[in-house]
């Protein structure tokens, strides 16, 4: 029995490095939702500094207003004030931002956030918000507030026609082409 368990653990351990590196842990407090970030930017919340870690070609497709692009590799050399709220943006599912988040926290920066879902979620939530035709009154009220915010950033909120499901995020550059040139 012990040998079987040891063999199972050994197998699970040996396979672990080959399972891919998609996992990085960012605490709940270390994240900010796209709509919340949009409010921060619109309201010019003091101290917010948005750091875009995506490659230049992706930044050109979807720009987040007030964001400055910094290469992940040069992040350690960048200077940040201790009172700044750093918001990290990546577009790859979050690994780059999560890794940068951990590095900045390890260097003593207390206020570091990762944009939830990266640039893809920014596009979905801020630029392309949708409302189901049969949505509850609370959802409709929330959508009104979101729509106002979305239009501020050049977004196109829309109410889905009956029978149409909310668009599934396609991801990748193809979807970004659609929103090229939008945003502040």
């Amino acid at each position: 029995m012990h040998r079987a368990l040891a063999a199972a653990a050994a197998l699970a351990g040996v396979l672990a490095p080959f399972a891919g590196a998609r996992l990085a842990a960012v605490s709940r407090e270390g994240r900010v939702a796209p709509l919340e970030l949009a409010e921060w930017i619109r309201d010019r919340k003091p101290g917010v500094r948005v750091i875009d870690l995506r490659p230049a070609v992706e930044v050109d497709l979807v720009r987040i207003p007030r964001a400055e692009r910094i290469e992940g590799g040069t992040l350690d050399a960048a200077r940040f004030r201790p009172d700044e709220i750093l918001v990290l943006v990546s577009g790859d599912g979050g690994e780059v931002a999560a890794s940068a988040w951990a590095r900045l926290r390890a260097h003593g920066h207390r206020e570091v956030r990762v944009l939830e879902g990266g640039a893809d979620r920014w596009v979905d939530d801020v630029l392309n918000p949708t409302l189901a035709p049969d949505a509850a009154p609370e959802a409709v009220a929330a959508f009104r507030r979101t729509s106002e915010l979305s239009r501020y950033f050049g977004g196109v909120p829309r109410v889905l026609p009956p029978g149409e499901a909310a668009p599934r995020p396609a991801g990748g550059a193809a979807r970004h082409v659609v929103v090229r040139g939008r945003g502040c």
Binding site: G13, P17, A19, G20, A21, A25, A106, G108
Partner: protein, 204 residues
């Protein structure tokens, strides 16, 4: 390019239970009670309610604690890692306690000294008390008293308590290694350590 396993099937994401609404707050409380009972039962069955057995760890006469605890760590680590890869657990929502270097070193030394003196740690003291051992009950009372005194005495200790913050560190971040490599390393370390224990242990 390093070889990779084929994309694993992605199952429904259900955990963390509260965050994802899989289980309400009452459900998680009940789950905590059941897990606590199971944990206590496992500790008792492993013989860790005995102070003699725990103290044997430090004299190399009985290394059950190491075996049980390291097995638990490896099991939890592998479960977390693979459940996250299967999509069932959102690892980004799992709380990672923050590291405060100096206070945690001080606390660790204090905890270790208490463990040697009492022969029990918080969990095993509860198990010992539940099985009617007087030393377990004494350690439990001492522990609760210590918690109360620490809480009341926090203001003058606050500077130490909040010193040397390092954020929510994990071993992969500190070592700069991929998560999977660290998992493999810990498993290898455990298997080698278990193999060596038989040679090191000197049953008294």
């Amino acid at each position: 390019m390093s070889p990779q396993l084929p994309q694993l099937p992605q199952l429904a994401q259900v955990a963390p239970f509260v965050d994802l609404g899989t289980m309400g707050p009452h459900g998680t409380l009940w789950a905590a009670v059941l897990i606590g009972i199971a944990f206590g039962w496992a500790l008792e069955r492993a013989g860790l309610g005995s102070a003699r057995r725990l103290a044997g760890q430090f004299y190399l006469t009985n290394l059950s604690v190491f075996r049980v605890m390291f097995s638990a760590i490896v099991t939890a680590m592998l479960g977390t890692y693979w459940l996250a890869h299967l999509g069932m657990l959102d690892l980004a929502r799992v709380f990672v306690p923050e590291t405060y270097l100096v206070p945690q070193v001080v606390g660790g030394l204090l905890f270790g000294a208490g463990l040697v003196v009492a022969g029990l740690c918080p969990g095993t003291s509860c198990v010992a008390a539940a099985t009617g051992r007087g030393d377990g009950l004494s350690v439990m009372l001492g522990m609760l008293g210590g918690v109360l005194v620490s809480g009341l005495g926090l203001p003058p200790l606050r500077a130490l308590y909040e010193s040397t913050p390092r954020g929510a560190l994990t071993i992969p971040q500190v070592l700069g290694l991929p998560y999977g490599v660290v998992v493999a390393g810990v498993v290898a370390l455990a298997l080698v350590a278990f193999r060596l224990l038989d040679r090191v242990e000197r049953p008294g």
